[in-house]
Symmetry: C2
Subunit: 348 residues, 2 copies
């Protein structure tokens, strides 16, 4: 372990992807907790739930019936936040009220017909089918030339606002770049212009050499706790190949991605012997846009739990008004994730 | 109501203070909810709790006894995230691992000896004493020439990570500028340099003329739902006078601020007949720094509730990875807050 002094004292670390700092308070992890404790769900679900609007054959909010699907299943969100047919208009009142309509398409992906199987509990070959569907959806959505960005993500667990326990993810595709993508675009581009290299390629090389935050390193992917992680057990999967988006992955890479997701999420579930909640999603190059070579495919996992299955990290007052803050260091979090078995606790 | 088309369609609005957009999906507020429901506390607390480390005379984590205080009471946080004596050091490994120690002072303010009284339940004259203490602490903390920013804030309610139900706030003072302050600094400065006016002064003038998002307008302060609010019932208090920080307020202004906080938080509690949770805090000019004329004192309120005392807005997957998103419009939220009585529901 180099840098012993800084890692034991309050410090801030630069997020290479956003250009923003995170505040780290390593000495603070012994703080007692008298605050909110989450309900932990028994996590015993039936394979099929007649009241679930995602299970095969059931009725959805708009009255249509789901097909009797066998693998994963995709449909347009019945309560889409973005709509494809919004007419373009904008407002600028004295430079003070500035607004613009936004067009988009929101889709939902049920990961499998099984109401009870989260990603870590699925077989690698079934996760591979989800990866294939992500790929297919990405390619199909970008055929709309007005779509500029496609966000593929999952909210896992009620604590992460997941509105239906049937394992599923979402895709929101839209006509302009979201704020987090604008930030990453600026950072990735600046490094690429200076070094003619992807910053994430150089970063994962360094992380492999140091081996302090690395969790998984297989042929095509690396999973690690980023040096600048904000959430206690935040991780990132990065492709070894410097590609811009999922459409460039070979079949072998997609298989490896399925394996990486499986291993990472099994380790997550094993930390507290619970279905580990998170929001996760890929960051990829904007679509239908020139000059995106600086982008490098990666996937973020933002899990909220801190001390146990029922005590989470609150990103509240100071964090909302001033700066993200964490207590346990990224290195300690990586150690804990690495100590976990790669066999799911329910199967042990 | 002008701009009818844009306000009924998915659109994004520019946050003048951060330069970032928020996505608004007005058509989506009818979405059904099968997700997480929060526990609502009975909110019956004793005036004094022998196990509370904030009540007068009780023992704190570090063993010291609280004085038998009569008004508000301030002390150094026993689990401070920032420490004053951290030695300055930094890391830059290949431009990829970048970190720097941070010095600071964290304090806690018990708002009153009463374990059961939140700000909306306190008398204006007692809230005024809290404002006076904020003022006094601000002036005292900035005497340390190494302190560059002072964040005064409150996490209210267990859902906002408040770790002790005895009503209290916090102050984190630190040696560099937090990320949200850096963003506001850039935006406020740019407008001031172009117009020789505070953007917030021009903005509240416009909001008073339009009267669509205004909640309170008294002699010295305005409270409103900002055009770019992200949280469902987010509000902002802005001083009419273009001053940089709380130390410039007259006694009359501090009294008016106490009244404004009282009225706003009473209205909040009345929306769902519950102790309305939020994180709130002031944004003020950096201290011990030249050239801060562009700053204009204001206070943000970020409340998480959306549909009821137990269903909150989740800022999760899309919001964390891509862009903050809201369902009900700022205008509708302002209407709801304005409809509320200014007498607290417990006193009705
Ligand atoms: O200091 P407290 O009340 O123990 O802690 C609370 O506020 C802090 C500052 O916003 C956060 O870092 C913590 O996550 C939250 O639980
Ligand atoms: O679309 P869902 O699952 O109903 O809703 C969930 O994910 C959305 C996208 O992150 C959020 O806007 C919602 O707040 C959350 O509850």
């Amino acid at each position: 372990m180099p840098e012993p002094t800084i890692n034991e004292n309050p410090h801030k670390r630069l997020n290479l992807l956003t250009g923003e700092f995170v505040l780290v308070s390593p000495h603070r992890s012994k703080r007692p907790w008298q605050g909110q404790v989450e309900e932990t769900s028994a996590d015993q679900r039936p394979e099929y739930d007649p009241n679930c609007y995602l299970c095969p054959g059931n009725q959805r909010a708009d009255g249509t019936l789901n097909p009797d699907y066998k693998d994963s299943f995709v449909f347009v969100n019945d309560f889409s936040a973005l709509l494809p047919d919004t007419q373009s208009t904008f407002i600028d009142e004295d430079g003070l009220l500035i607004a613009e309509t936004e067009r988009g398409i929101c889709r939902v992906i049920a990961f499998s017909p099984r109401h009870d199987l989260t990603l870590p509990e699925m077989e690698v070959q079934d996760i591979k089918k989800v990866v294939d569907l992500w790929h297919q959806e990405f390619v199909e959505l970008r055929r709309n030339d007005w779509i500029k960005y496609i966000q593929i993500f999952e909210n896992k667990g009620a604590i992460m606002g997941c509105s239906n326990p049937h394992p599923h993810g979402q895709i929101w595709a839209q006509s302009s770049l979201p704020v987090e993508i604008i930030k990453e675009d600026i950072q990735l581009r600046a490094y690429f212009e200076e070094h003619q290299r992807s910053v994430l390629a150089d970063y994962i090389d360094l992380e492999e050499r140091k081996d302090e935050r690395l969790i998984i390193a297989n042929e095509h992917f690396v999973a690690l706790v980023p040096y600048w992680a904000s959430w206690p057990f935040e991780t990132m999967i990065v492709s070894r190949r410097h590609v811009q988006d999922i459409s460039q992955f070979t079949d072998q890479e997609k298989e490896d991605l399925a394996k990486t997701i499986k291993e990472l999420t099994v380790r997550y579930d094993n930390i507290f012997n619970t279905s580990f909640p998170y929001s996760a999603g890929m960051h990829q190059a904007p679509v239908n846009s020139e000059d995106q070579k600086h982008w490098h495919w990666h996937m973020h996992f933002y899990p909220p739990l801190l001390r146990s299955a029922s005590v989470k990290k609150f990103m509240v007052g100071y964090e909302m008004l001033a700066n993200p803050q964490r207590d346990i260091t990224a290195e300690r979090a990586a150690e804990i994730i690495k100590e976990q078995s790669t066999t799911h606790y329910k199967a042990q």
